[in-house]
Symmetry: C2
Subunit: 688 residues, 2 copies
């Protein structure tokens, strides 16, 4: 008997009230049926989160910058081991509380459409294809490949369109064209549903064209379960059902909201609204068969996780895997691959002539910047400063300024002068600047309360601008390390510093990884998963959900650092780019060969990015180019490598104004090349 | 020409307005006289503070717990090197801002009369003699012994009586009997002035018997400069002069306040009130000769520091001394000596059978608890957790709970279970609990805004009490490490844990020091510089400044751990206690010999404490006993040591109701012994 049938049988024995109770995220036990209590809410965005000690990997946006699908899969697999280990230990003692289960509300595959969005660093960036492929790898890594049991439940969120403003999320109605909806906002969801079969999808807080996402017939029934053929369960974002009447004001009360959500396919409620299902049923707003359908989906998922089984192979994962040396090494490797070298005049990597460095800046000795948000609590961390200190050079540390506007009362410490003194006595300066996760984050979490976690603009705080200018006056070779989860205007650093390094929130081993890069033990190989604009003024309004003028696909201005930018220490020569077939029948994939040579003297990794350009008149506004494939490879010093990248047919299709993907004949150009030289090699083919 | 004469000459060339300008803490340059700008405000309570990187020693209360006068002197000498090094570097580039000078507003020698006072951890505890001797060592260490130049200016603060409540300090009028004033509140000031010749004294915020301290004829003119023969300058606490009219309402306006303060001997103003001296002079409230006298004192101090000299030997102190390995080692040594073993059933030190430990608690991985307040910014820190991790055992870390009441929303992380799991899989548990410097601190600094930094009671926060009880249920050998700057009610830990360790804020190397103790690399040798009461209810009201019922000298209840309590890993046998003379003429010192044996198998340090008891009817309430001497000694395993302690005549005097110290004949008893066995040896003598 398969899990679906067993679920049906189990649910058939429940009373209506019992069924409804199982639709709460904190589902109580039904003792007479041998069903224990279960809390569905668990998090693992970049490591098991909010459950104490765990390996904390780099934040999602950082892992996206690695452009390393296989490594991300390995990270997710590792997370699934730690999650199972923790679950096993909790279960041994009968604990069934929040953050102790197997159903994880990760990954966040929303499109980071605007750099002001505080939660953008939870995502894989601005590109639908990158997000889709990485999301798929992450979900597969979590869910495992056991033929019987699912290792963990992964949950795609937030369905759909969700991307700020945080302060308005409980009442916001996003207006999105059909074309943008399908081409941008739904693209990765569809891809992941098709390729990774995620257990669950989480509805968003906002409305889309008037319909609250967690109760949207259009989104949940027509698109998710209809068009995308999603077979799992849907969970609401936390408190989102109550928002439907309280903030969206689409219904009159919680009973109506709960009924509307369940009818449209939201099976599980994070929050308390589903306690009104009894009232809704009494008023005839919802029927038992709709309840039954939801609970069957939920019980099937619990059965599939082996929660009631004796033979689940994952029950033997031991606690000792948590933060084991292999996992920490993987976190460090991912951090290394996630760091993006944006500019380098040759100052990096530091040579033997650099015997002393001044490490200056508010992010140098900060632990929260390693961890991002939705994080675990590592037992050990390596701050940026500590990583550098462990590299054998003499280090002079000076905080230099507060992270944001100094409270420069006349009685306060003035840390600037010390920084200048440190710079003067050093061979080189490493500025550790940028933002922190309390300056960009989630509504309710972040402290920049005025904007509920969003950023007002792309500027560095004034205190840091002042520090930068003062340090530059010293005239020392200077590396600017920007720590942030989003695009920051780094124009001044780019202009005035010898090197600029982007360090997305890099995880517990972040400082070790940064030092590996700075001192040349590893050549940088990260590339930007988002456009670094010069100013938010170059962008449409934050509340405007049209993609026009946004992301590398539609931005027509000049970015400071484009999507995909990222330098290496070694010259990676792109030798050729060849399409396998001059003409490809519609619906088939194209394969592209890229040959590379590492013309340097150290081994290096390279993220090969392939872009596609639709060279035809389609009667709609087309993306300027689209990422159509990517592959991370390792090339030994002096070595050559041929990389084959397959372009799926989806990426030759264009999306029309009605949101339909159309494959029509025409000419396509593919482009690839090292970031240092811009896009350098091209080839073209025809769709027939 | 000596410094006083040169000062006189220099000041004689100033206009009245120029003179007044030099009485501000941020004194401007007088270019025509070649006098550069100077900012008098600098801090070094336990390391150069608020001036960036520096060796951060244990907080003052911790250093008091070492009962090691010589070590504290060495700490202060070390601080003076780092301070000079920083000054030299700043001066090289012409910087003259706050926290870049040589005049330090440390130490804080107020008496920690009530454990609720938030700033108590800045002091050397509750005993006047301990405070006096340690304050003297600290001042001498800072000021140096150069025959010509003073290395730094030390400032005794806060003169006088000052000890909370923080929230009322700007308007509080302390009512103090003459006896308590001289016997307790002024005692250490007088001793330090006599024995260390501090450059400066800082007036307190509060009033004493109606007179604002910074403008008190009684305190500044009659007592400090009259009776105590203080020869230095007096500085106001910051903003305290404005308090005189705004909050104390003793004067009508700033001009009156400034005039009153200067007339009564407050030479330097931290704050802005002295800008009204011009108005005061115009109104005839103050004369030029009083201004001149103040400025002469200030210029003499600047000259004595060598600020205008070319031949000052301290100008050559190099920057490389800042945080040099020797200084860090000294900080660790002081931290080791400052940790107090309160209870031990034999669980400590951990033996080889302890192969894994659970490190649990909100203070385990916390950096601010290392630093206390008035601190520098260390380039490296060793948290308690890191220290334990570096000891070679397997460590399971779990935060366990938030430092104070959990925000246990239903959606919040519940860290308790992980702690229990960690305990279960470990051979022993180390609970890292207690307070932090934002829970007890200074008005304006601390976040427990309701009490402006003071504590409501002596209880551990509820979150920690819950954690303790839950962990105890696991039945593992458990060490309770209490981190705090003040007495906490540790009754439950004492009753239920195998060992209780008091760790006052231990400095940047604190975790290494704690691990040294826990794993037996060092035998603990700290003793309590304050009484650990069972409850604040055992004490008089916080605003009651009478000493009756306070501190070990007058508390008649049963303390949980008395002043001076502190165990060792080795049996230190007190073999004999002998007075040199049966009869001592009034005004002479008595010498006492104490012979000790280390009957254990590891080298150990021991703080020998000698108490004196006046066995006579004096017609006033006498202290139950008084600390009359102490000496820290090192005794090798199996070794014996004879320690001579000299009891100064002051400690045979009693203070009468008029505040006069009287030496009258009678019988005295001296007592000494290891804390483990209570006071064990006695001897007596007569004053004749």
């Amino acid at each position: 008997m398969d899990f679906a049938e067993r679920a049906k049988e189990l649910v058939s024995q429940m009373t209506l009230a019992e069924k409804m109770s199982q639709m709460r995220y904190d589902a109580p036990a039904i003792e007479r049926l041998g069903i224990p209590a279960y809390n569905w809410w668990n998090e693992c965005l970049h490591g098991v989160a909010r459950a104490g000690a765990a390996t904390v990997f780099p934040q999602a946006i950082a892992m996206a910058a690695s452009f390393d699908e296989e490594l991300l899969f390995e990270v997710a697999r590792t997370i699934s081991d730690e999650a199972r280990a923790k679950y096993n230990e909790y279960r041994k003692f009968g604990y069934t509380e929040i953050y102790q289960g197997l159903t994880f509300w990760s990954p966040n595959i929303n499109i980071f459409r605007d750099p002001r969005w505080g939660r953008g660093h939870e995502t894989y960036g601005e590109d639908p294809y990158l997000t889709a492929v990485l999301g798929t790898a992450f979900v597969r890594g979590l869910q495992g490949d056991d033929p019987v049991y699912r290792k963990l439940d992964a949950t795609l969120k937030h369905f759909a369109v969700h991307s700020g403003p945080e302060g308005l999320r409980h009442s916001f109605d996003a207006h999105v064209s059909k074309k943008d909806l399908y081409e941008t906002y739904l693209w990765a969801f569809r891809y992941c549903v098709r390729h990774a079969a995620p257990a669950a999808v989480m509805g968003a807080y906002n409305r889309v064209e008037g319909e609250p996402c967690c109760a949207s017939k259009t989104l949940l029934e027509n698109i998710l379960r209809g068009e995308m053929e999603f077979k799992g369960y849907v969970v609401s974002d936390c408190g989102a059902i109550c928002d439907i009447n309280r903030n969206h004001r689409v219904t009159e009360n919680e009973a109506e909201s709960a009924a509307l959500a369940v009818k449209n396919g939201c099976d599980l409620n994070c929050g308390s609204a589903y306690q009104y299902l009894q009232a809704a049923a009494a008023q005839g707003l919802i029927g038992e068969e709709e309840i039954t359908r939801a609970v069957e989906r939920l019980m099937e998922a619990r059965l599939r996780l082996g929660l009631f089984a004796e033979d689940c192979p994952f029950d033997s994962v031991p606690y000792s895997v948590v933060e084991c040396p292999e996992h920490l090494a993987l976190s460090r490797r991912m951090a290394e691959e996630s760091i993006v070298l944006l500019k380098n005049d040759g100052i990096l990597p530091f040579g033997k002539d650099v015997r002393s460095v001044a490490v200056i800046g508010p992010n140098a000795a900060d632990i929260p910047i390693l961890l991002g948000n939705y994080n675990g609590t590592p037992s050990k961390t390596v701050t940026l400063l500590e990583g550098i200190q462990q590299s054998g050079v003499t280090v002079y540390y000076a905080k230099g300024c507060d992270i944001a506007e100094d409270s420069v009362g006349e009685w306060a410490e003035h840390p600037l002068h010390e920084a200048l003194l440190a710079a003067r006595r050093s061979d080189a300066v490493i500025l550790c600047m940028g933002l922190n996760p309390s300056m960009e984050g989630e509504e309710g979490d972040a402290y920049n309360g005025a904007r509920s976690g969003d950023k007002a603009d792309l500027e560095l705080p004034l205190s840091q601008k002042r520090l930068l200018e003062a340090v530059l006056q010293e005239g020392k070779p200077t590396v600017f390390v920007n720590v942030s989860g989003s695009a920051v205007n780094l124009s001044r650093a780019d202009e005035a510093c010898g090197a600029v390094v982007q360090c997305f929130y890099p995880g517990a081993e972040g400082g070790a990884a940064l030092a590996d890069i700075l001192f040349g033990r590893v050549s940088p190989s990260g590339r930007l998963p988002v456009t670094f604009y010069r100013s938010a003024d170059d962008l449409p309004g934050f509340e405007d959900y049209s993609m026009r003028g946004r992301t590398y696909r539609y931005f027509e201005g000049e970015a400071l650092y484009p999507f995909g930018h990222g330098l290496s220490y070694v010259p990676i020569e792109y030798l050729s780019c060849t399409v396998e077939r001059e003409a490809v029948p519609a619906g088939e994939a194209q394969r592209v060969s890229v040959r590379l040579r590492n013309a340097g003297e150290m081994d290096a990794r390279e993220a090969v990015l392939l872009f596609i350009r639709d060279r035809n008149e389609r009667g709609v506004c087309l993306p300027q180019r689209r990422l159509a494939g990517f592959k991370k490879v390792e090339i030994p010093a002096g070595g050559e490598k041929e990389v084959w990248i397959s372009i799926p047919p989806d990426l030759m299709a264009y999306t029309d104004e009605d949101g339909r993907e159309r494959l029509e004949e025409g000419t396509y150009e593919v482009e690839t090349g090292a970031a240092a030289g811009g896009i350098s090699l091209k080839a073209s083919f025809r769709l027939v």
